[in-house]
């Protein structure tokens, strides 16, 4: 019976098995050599400048004498791509200072934020000899990667491009290098040109500088200029105006089919926990940045169980009526897409819509977009009583036209930091690279390109309209966009984002979940406020109220 299976067949099968085992051995040996380059392309992810030069149409245009904005100039020559280094860009005069040093910078997969780093890496290498590797991981996992890498002392990275909001969790254990001294000594950085807000708040923690800003982040409101003009409406000054405008345009055709009044991201686990504070802060903070928005400065009690926050919740929920039906599942990428394809009359966002709207590949509303400082409120919170009171010179010293604006510097702006545990030469090289990215010659160009994800943060970037005109903004649009950003930045009542230790738990877990449940109808308004209040109190008690209070005051106290 066994002869039914012929011996030769079994033998063949055995030989095949043997061969297979041999193949595995070879693969294991290859893999064990630990060098995946044996089977794959080299690991450095900095793309060759020639191929990316074609994608970035403005590398040749950086030198101010060029009038043409055609893309062919950059595409035909590879040598031109490397001449973006303006005279002031080089950190030192000695070239190839970092020959032989290799730095690994970790950030999230682009093209936003990572693309300019990858594009300029080779330029930096030519200038200083340091090899630059940009390593990217998914955005949602960046924070954990950094933390686990640093806390287990693996130290695979020399530097990071991260969110300043994460600083308390990274600085306290000592993972980030103190850059204060280097920044002071760095003339090429033109540190004073960086807006005071980013200099003194975003990049510093407890009085020392730990990061170099690469991107300016805060919320503004966008509107369709053509649509509002036709209806004879003015851009929204207060949140009630915002609602009125949204109501008027809900369901109306704005040139691209039936549209929506207002598109705000409300998805859980996305950015909704910032947008609620766009509304709430205008009612909670009126005495200037140092007053703070989230907690009471004496007791560390959350400022969420009061009339102002209640009104904000109601307003936030009401905007849902004038938005897309699936607004509860839209994150900021979706709302930007909706606005840029002409489906929304109003939107709230960081500075990205302004630049994205100019790109014909992503936008249908070029030259139809207006930007304005976040709407405000004519009533503010009396913290002693928890009730709303009318705005006057005492309660709202910084009001304009009786309206208190509180522009929210959400997120803080992507910044570069250096790993304190890296070898010292590598640290110097990493700092030099970050400084290079920040310097006006590079930065001024990058902030005009929508795909870089960098928004303006230097005074010169607001004053000089030329690079903006080069990318196609009309004079009025540039003035309007930059004006709104500058107004927001320069306001004395800017709202600082929460930067106490474990702020993520406060915002992304407690606040975000409660808001999501409120919008979904799982909680009533009062239950929501109570849940946020109790949740925040629980965390504060777990960590230590005095510690958190001291931290909170420290982050606010830095602003002059």
């Amino acid at each position: 019976m066994l002869r039914g299976l012929t011996r030769s067949k079994l033998r063949n099968k055995r030989n095949a098995t043997g061969l297979l085992l041999l193949a595995i051995m070879c693969q294991l040996v290859l893999a064990a050599c630990g060098d995946p380059t044996a089977t794959t392309i080299p690991a450095t992810t900095t793309a060759a400048p020639a191929t990316t030069a074609a994608a970035t149409t403005t590398t040749a245009a950086a030198t101010t004498t060029v009038a043409a904005t055609t893309t062919t100039a950059a595409a035909t020559t590879t040598a031109v791509a490397t001449t973006t280094a303006a005279p002031t860009a080089v950190p030192t005069t000695a070239s190839l200072q970092f020959q032989g040093t290799e730095i690994n910078i970790l950030t999230f997969t682009g093209p936003q934020i990572a693309e300019p780093l990858q594009r300029r890496g080779p330029d930096f290498t030519k200038l200083t000899g340091a090899k630059v590797n940009i390593i990217t991981v998914p955005f949602s996992d960046l924070y954990q990667k950094i933390l686990i890498d640093a806390s287990t002392k693996t130290n695979s990275y020399t530097g990071y491009v991260l969110a300043p909001q994460w600083m308390p969790d990274f600085v306290t254990p000592g993972y980030l290098e103190d850059l204060t001294a280097r920044i002071k000594a760095d003339k090429a950085l033109q540190w004073d040109d960086v807006q005071a807000f980013f200099r003194d708040f975003s990049s510093s923690y407890q009085g020392k500088n730990y990061t170099i800003p690469l991107d300016g982040d805060f919320h503004v409101a966008y509107y369709r200029t053509d649509v509002l003009e036709k209806a004879g409406m003015k851009p929204p000054e207060t949140w009630q105006d915002y609602l009125n405008i949204a109501k008027a345009f809900q369901g109306k055709d704005m040139g691209f089919g039936p549209g929506y009044g207002s598109c705000i991201s409300k998805k859980r686990g996305a950015q909704a926990f910032w947008f609620i504070y766009d509304i709430a802060a205008s009612m909670i903070q009126s005495q200037g940045t140092a007053q703070g928005t989230f907690f009471d400065q004496d007791t560390m009690k959350p400022l969420v169980n009061n009339e102002a926050f209640a009104a904000a919740l109601d307003l936030y929920k009401e905007t849902t009526k004038y938005g897309p039906p699936d607004e509860l599942n839209l994150d900021v990428g979706d709302t930007r897409g909706l606005f840029d394809t002409g489906k929304c009359a109003l939107s709230l966002d960081w500075g990205d819509i302004g630049t994205l709207a100019l790109d014909p590949a992503t936008s249908k509303v070029k030259d139809k977009v207006g930007t304005i400082i976040l709407p405000g409120s004519d009533q503010v919170l009396d913290r002693a009583t928890g009730k709303l009171v009318k705005c006057d010179t005492k309660t709202c010293p910084y009001a304009t036209n009786g309206v208190n604006h509180a522009p929210f510097a959400a997120f803080g702006g992507w910044s570069g930091a250096v790993n304190a545990a890296a070898p010292s030469k590598a640290k110097d090289a990493a700092y030099a690279f970050l400084s290079y990215m920040n310097q006006p010659a590079q930065s001024n160009e990058d902030v005009t390109l929508g795909k870089t994800g960098f928004n303006p943060y230097r005074t010169s970037q607001f004053k000089n309209l030329d690079p903006w005109k080069k990318i196609g903004m009309s004079d009025t649009a540039a003035a309007n966009y930059l004006g709104a950003l500058a107004n927001s930045l320069n306001s004395p009542n800017v709202v600082l984002d929460l930067r106490i230790p474990q702020n993520q738990k406060y915002q992304q877990v407690v606040l975000d979940t409660a808001i999501a449940q409120f919008l979904a109808g799982e909680l009533t308004r009062d239950q929501t406020m109570k849940q946020i209040n109790d949740g925040w109190e629980e965390i504060t008690n777990e960590i230590g109220r005095d510690k958190q209070l001291a931290s909170y005051k420290a982050t606010l106290g830095v602003v002059k």
């Binding site: 019976m1 066994l2 039914g4 067949k9 079994l10 099968k13 055995r14 297979l20 085992l21 193949a23 595995i24 693969q27 294991l28 290859l30 893999a31 064990a32 630990g34 995946p36 380059t37 089977t39 794959t40 392309i41 690991a43 992810t45 793309a47 191929t51 990316t52 994608a55 690994n104 999230f108 997969t109 682009g110 093209p111 934020i113 693309e115 990858q118 991981v137 998914p138 955005f139 949602s140 990667k145 686990i148 890498d149 287990t152 693996t154 695979s156 994150d331 900021v332 990428g333 897409g337 909706l338 840029d340 394809t341 990205d352 014909p360 590949a361 992503t362 936008s363 249908k364 994800g453």
Partner: protein, 344 residues
């Protein structure tokens, strides 16, 4: 004259025309359900961002003008190096770990079916106690190499002395259940200890780390699936070979394995797919050099929201090799066992 079961064109069920028509209807419907999302992926990969955002466009050239921008970006543009490096890593890691785990798991499954294990409660208890002791030692500063060796020695000593006194034992089924229960805990809970484990042996960011990790996580599945297929291999064949003088190993490799080819192939496909698509372990055990493809897919969801056009391209290039492998291996699943030929 033995009838070969399920030779390629033989089937006991030759459906009537009506049954065939209904079958095709049902099959066609499900094929549509399966293929439509893939079609949507293909179509999206040829769109520009604005075409994606403006609303559903279904047919290239008719509804919208297709472009190769996304393909260019992924395969030839900025992401090219990342894509090819990750692709290579995925292939090496998935193939290697799948082949190894297949053989390791089959051997264990065979053992669980044919041998009779009786691990004693005492042994297990002692083992856990020693592991616990070594962990406590490590947490208190003892170098881990020393702690592990000491724990092993203590275990061996105690086992030979005290362990012999207690006879209550478990059975094969319990071992099997313990193995499959390894998959019950969500990986998120064990990711940090595993990260530390690999960090201590210096294997972070290497393909080997991923291979080992995937072997460990896929073993239970292989064992459980192969147990069933091995149980269908008749004992007479093995006994006959034993009488002929074959050793246990030869019986396994020459008789049992060839007869279980459909099961082996199906299992191989599973573990390959699991290893190919695994995300969480790859995210943490790799940083620069050993990244795999699922990481870039997930990474397309950046601060601006998911970039559907790039993501579609990446998903498509990810599934093409696996589909080719499935096509090549499908015939082995369908061949059927030669078991029936042996009866009588």
């Amino acid at each position: 004259m033995r009838k070969r079961l399920f030779a390629k064109n033989y089937s006991p069920f030759k459906p009537s025309p009506l049954a065939a028509a209904l079958s095709y209807l049902a099959l066609g419907f499900w094929a549509l359900v399966v293929l439509f999302p893939i079609f949507w992926l293909v179509v999206t990969s040829f769109k520009t961002p604005i075409q994606v955002d403006t609303g559903p466009f279904y047919l290239p050239y008719i509804d919208f003008q297709p472009t190769l921008d996304s393909w260019h970006y992924i395969l030839l543009g900025d992401l090219q190096n990342d894509t090819f490096r990750n692709y290579g890593n995925t292939i090496v890691v998935a193939l290697t770990s799948s082949i190894i785990v297949l053989f390791m798991g089959s051997a264990a499954a065979y053992a669980l079916v044919r041998f009779n294990y009786q691990p004693r409660y005492a042994t297990i208890g002692l083992f856990i106690v020693c592991v616990g002791l070594s962990i406590v030692a490590v947490l208190n500063g003892v170098p881990w190499q020393l702690a592990i060796v000491a724990a092993l020695v203590i275990f061996f000593l105690l086992w030979q002395t005290i362990g012999r006194r207690f006879k209550a034992a478990l059975s094969n089924n319990d071992i099997a259940f313990w193995l499959i229960s390894q998959r019950m805990l969500p990986p998120i809970a064990t990711i940090i200890p595993i990260y530390v484990l690999f960090q201590q042996v210096g294997l972070l960011d290497t393909q080997i780390a991923l291979i080992i990790a995937y072997i460990a996580s896929n073993l239970p599945i292989v064992i459980w699936l192969m147990r069933d297929y091995f149980q269908n291999v008749p004992l007479e064949l093995e006994e006959g070979a034993a009488i002929d003088g074959a050793s246990r190993y030869r019986i396994f490799t020459s008789i049992v394995l060839p007869l279980s080819v459909p099961g082996l192939v199906a299992t191989f496909l599973f573990v390959l797919v699991f290893a190919w698509n695994e995300y969480l372990l790859a995210l943490f055990l790799s940083s620069a050099k050993a990244q795999t493809l699922p990481l870039i897919v997930a990474a397309q969801n950046a601060t601006r929201g998911p970039q559907w056009w790039y993501m579609s391209v990446l998903i498509l290039i990810m599934i093409i090799p696996v589909i080719i492998m499935a096509i090549a291996l499908e015939r082995f699943i369908a061949r059927g066992l030669l078991v029936g030929a042996v009866k009588g």
